[in-house]
């Protein structure tokens, strides 16, 4: 049941983009202001029209932020940072993070390459895999996404892994990871 609720949360952007829901779907007071004030930018996305020197967000980042943005309705903050990484099948990549007991986290990876299977994994400071909630969506026509959520039992160092499980062409894929906490 909880997994279904998470799936529904993650699907919110799809529903909105498909025109099946209104912009105020599940929106708490103040959250509507965020997207309106950012002129439609995905939450956490930081377009900088006044500073063209800054990097232009990639499509993978846009997709990851769009997916993670669904968590805002559940009180999550999407961090204004990204990890862009090229993945090859069989060669997972890892990011060191610091997580806090009491907080909840979701890590979302996305690639605009359709049909690839991505996976996000979480590991403790010793590298041991953690059990948590996982989500993936490799059938989307616009790209592939995966996410993992965790509520750490203790504060400290952890690792987030991203992995290319399958790629129809066998070629490496560019991905982007973002995170959200509450």
């Amino acid at each position: 049941m909880r997994a279904r609720a998470l799936a529904l949360t993650l699907l919110t952007p799809l529903i909105l983009s498909a025109g099946l829901g209104s912009a105020s779907l599940n929106a708490a007071p103040g959250q509507q202001t965020v997207s309106m004030s950012r002129q439609g930018a995905a939450p956490g996305l930081t377009p900088s029209p006044s500073n063209p020197a800054l990097p232009v967000p990639t499509e993978s980042r846009r997709l990851a932020l769009e997916t993670a943005g669904a968590f805002i309705n559940d009180g999550f903050h999407v961090r204004d940072g990204e990890w862009s990484v090229r993945l090859e099948k069989g060669a997972p990549a890892f990011l060191q993070v610091t997580l806090f007991e009491g907080n909840k986290y979701w890590f979302v990876v996305a690639s605009t390459t359709p049909g690839v299977r991505l996976r996000v994994t979480l590991h403790d400071a010793a590298g041991k895999p953690l059990s948590g909630e996982v989500w993936h969506d490799e059938r989307a026509t616009g790209g592939s996404r995966a996410a993992a959520g965790v509520a750490p039992g203790r504060s400290g160092k952890y690792f987030v892994g991203v992995e290319l499980l399958d790629s129809p062409s066998g070629a490496p894929v560019d991905t982007c990871l973002v995170s959200a906490y509450k």
Binding site: S37, G127, V134, W135, R154
Partner: protein
Amino acid sequence: MSTGRTFAILALFSSCCHVATAPASGPAAMSPGQQQEAVFLDALSIPSPGEVFAAMNRACRPNWATLVTPATAPVTTDRTQLALAVGVLSANGYTAIDAQDGQQVKNVGREIMNVAKALGVSQSLLGRGNSLIEFADNNAWDALADELEATENEVKLTMVEQKDRDLVTLTSAAAWLRGLDVASGIVLANEDLKGASLLRQPELARHLASRLRELPPRIQRGSLVSGVGRSLESIAAILEIPDPAKEQDRENLQKIHEAAASIVKEILTSASAAAPAAAPSPSSSPKP
């Protein structure tokens, strides 16, 4: 309408989503090499003050209003001090947001803009400053937290664009130290030291200290940067003490708090008023 929407959600759920408690073949444990080669990114690997404060909120429900401090950037032309000040001010902004003190958030935003102007990166930030004011006027606290992190990151990005990549490390370290200053003060204010476990991040303190050691000599030459490095080293040493007894824990936290508060004060002290950097106090060395 509601029924239709629910149906649409369920239809999408069943057609394109896969949720499981574990994937078909579980992830393997990381090898020592993978752990060593794991990427460390300022923007994601270092927790934002907002993240720390969110955990503090759950642990001990602090009275944020009593923790808000006036936002005053130092008057200086030293770019390293200005970069450090951005980090401190940003953390102050999170405190003001948690206190829901709109005026103070605006003051912080204004001071960050002033520092950015002194650093020569203000042009790109005008929009951010206006957004901070707009969100503060509308009591949009969640949006403010996001905007504050985005503002800090945009200052950092512009530093990189201006070939000042090394300053980014200083901003990150200062934000973490100010967050630690505030959080350790909160923990010490309660008898049971609730939230103390949230502060035990020795690896992060060590990592930041080592990053400072790797900075070019021209940046490390400043006494303030050296002081920040020494503070991080002494804090890391205290945090590495395993399982201290409660009284020892309180004493250690007090030392951490003093070390963090002292260096934050130095960072915000204007050049004309600055005294030479103090040597590390003997009381800041950890007791096993």
